[in-house]
């Protein structure tokens, strides 16, 4: 579904990615784990067009999307829930969801999908008219995911959905992520600092360090790998 080959990204003089290659097969949950600054977020930003790549290729559904601007990439069903959530604090919850459906024309579908998002996250329905800036961190994360789901994604990228959220909510959010993957048949690429959790829900994983893939494999194997255990799982 998504195939990245030899991708490099630089912010000015600083190289953030050095030739990263990875594959995400349709219907799967794949995770990228790595410490702060390892290049996980940059990889997602390059895929969604927010960061320009200096070399390499990003293919999605058999087509090259490397040089496309973000709004053209979204229109292909590739939605990105960015780091820090980036909900529109000055818009209401409802307007945020409307923005998620910005490119959708089918009103019946939008209504049905909004109901689906509300069934996933009932809290959002309760706070429908509230400004998104007044929500708690966990609620904002729910909104960010819900907003992305209204973009009719076939491929969803989640960047640190657990960051700064109460542990109890983290569990709920990850359950929902698995549910979305199963019920909507959505392919998911997940960046997560909480490697335990990430390897739990995913089928395959990549470990990034200083902009390179240093290790990859089925999640169960990575979990058993002593190197991963020492560096990321705290065992």
């Amino acid at each position: 579904m998504l195939e990245i080959s030899d991708l490099s990204v630089a912010y000015g003089a600083i190289k953030a990615l050095h030739g990263v290659s990875l594959r995400v097969p349709p219907g799967s949950i794949v995770t990228l784990i790595g410490a702060n600054g390892a290049g996980t977020s940059t990889t997602l930003r390059a895929i969604s067009g927010l960061a320009k790549s200096s070399s390499g290729r990003i293919r999605y559904d058999g087509q090259d999307i490397t040089a496309l601007p973000p709004h053209r990439i979204v229109s292909r069903g590739l939605c990105h829930v960015p780091e820090g959530r980036m909900v529109f604090a000055n818009l209401s919850v409802q307007e945020n969801l409307q923005m998620g459906a910005y490119l959708q024309r089918d009103r019946a579908w939008i209504a049905a999908q909004t109901d689906y998002v509300f069934s996933l996250f009932p809290r959002l329905q309760e706070r429908c008219q509230q400004l998104a800036g007044t929500l708690s961190g966990g609620e904002q994360q729910m909104l960010a995911i819900g907003r992305a789901l209204l973009g009719r994604p076939k491929f969803l990228m989640l960047d640190e959905p657990s960051l700064g959220i109460a542990p109890l909510l983290v569990k709920t959010i990850f359950e929902k992520i698995v549910e979305i993957n199963r019920s909507q048949g959505l392919t998911i690429l997940l960046v997560e600092q909480n490697a335990n959790l990430a390897l739990e829900v995913s089928s395959y994983g990549y470990v990034l360090e200083t902009g390179k893939v240093i290790l990859e494999g089925p999640s169960a194997e990575l979990k058993a790998n002593p190197q991963v255990q020492a560096a990321y799982l705290g065992i």
Binding site: G49, L50, P69, P70, H71, P82, A89, L91, G100
Partner: protein, 304 residues
């Protein structure tokens, strides 16, 4: 009492025009976080567009001073200025999008001077003051010792209409929601599928159209037009936008009306009248010192 009423009518008219101009400043600030100093020159160009369109439209409609003609002239001038605003953004500001904001600000001052001094060339509009034709038949009303003209009524009415239209566009339409989203976070908006450049162009077009309408109304009230006519109302409107809270649409309107009314009242007091400009700028300084977010603005706090 009569004096009070008379000054209120005058102040309302002037304040409405400031409000219309301030809306353009504040909308552009909302999406790009910079003050488009060329905005006041669009106002002048709007007035000149109407000046040159008037004979053509009058000929087309078989006579001057018709309602249809005035609407046609205003719509054409607004359309022309909207295109011009979009063009200015595209040529002068867009290439600097990734640069420090100071670069864009200086460029805006450059664009403003470029328009003002090109317009003063003899082969363009020339520097002399020209008489702005009457677009509508004018009636004068008297109520006790209070005099007011149909233009005095028209200006606040048109302003109210424009404000309503702006409110509707920004709050109720898909494009307006996108404008607010872009204003908050351009990257996040682009992840929703918003073509950020197109929204910015639209914002410039809208603001410039309002400036053109304001320019025409200004010329109808004081029918001498010249290439620097935008500078004074432009500065006042800028103060109004800051007074109301830059980036805040209702704030621009409140700021415009407050400033217009204050200016007319203080200007009506004989020993104060020559300090009108001083008073306007004193307000700006006081606001920046004590309430930098403006009357309706909120200090921005970001949740991390």
């Amino acid at each position: 009492m009569d004096w009070l009423l008379q000054q209120s009518i005058n102040g309302l008219g002037l304040g409405s025009i400031y409000a219309l101009i301030a809306l353009g400043y504040t909308m552009v600030y909302g999406v790009l976080r910079f003050i488009n100093f060329a905005h006041s020159d669009i106002l002048m160009l709007g007035a000149f567009a109407a000046f040159y369109l008037e004979p053509q439209v009058s000929r087309l409609l078989g006579g001057p001073e018709s309602v249809l003609g005035a609407i046609l002239i205003a719509a054409l001038a607004a359309g022309l200025c909207a295109l011009l605003g979009i063009l200015i953004e595209f040529l002068a500001y867009r290439p600097l999008r990734q640069r420090p904001r100071l670069a864009v600000l200086i460029t805006a001052i450059g664009v403003s001077l470029f328009i003002e001094f090109t317009a003063q060339h003899d082969k363009v509009f020339s520097a002399k003051t020209q008489f702005f034709p009457r677009l509508l038949p004018e009636h004068t009303f008297q109520w006790g010792q209070v005099f007011f003209s149909s233009t005095d009524l028209l200006v606040p009415a048109v302003t109210a209409l424009m404000l309503g239209a702006m409110w509707f566009i920004v709050q109720k339409t898909r494009t307006g929601t996108a404008m607010r989203a872009v204003s908050f976070n351009q990257q996040a908006a682009s992840l929703m599928g918003v073509n950020v450049n197109r929204i910015i162009s639209f914002t410039f077009g809208l603001g410039s159209a309002l400036a053109a309408i304001a320019g025409i109304l200004y010329a109808m009230k004081a029918p001498g037009i010249e290439p620097l006519m935008g500078v004074q109302p432009g500065l006042r409107a800028f103060i109004a936008a800051v007074l109301g809270g830059i980036g805040n649409l209702p704030g621009a309107v409140v700021g415009g009306l407050v400033l217009g009314i204050l200016e007319t009242f203080l200007g009506g007091i004989p020993w104060l009248s020559s300090y009108r400009d001083g008073i306007a700028f004193a307000i700006l300084i006081l606001i920046l010192l004590f309430k930098p977010a403006g009357l309706l603005g909120k200090a921005t706090v970001e949740k991390v």
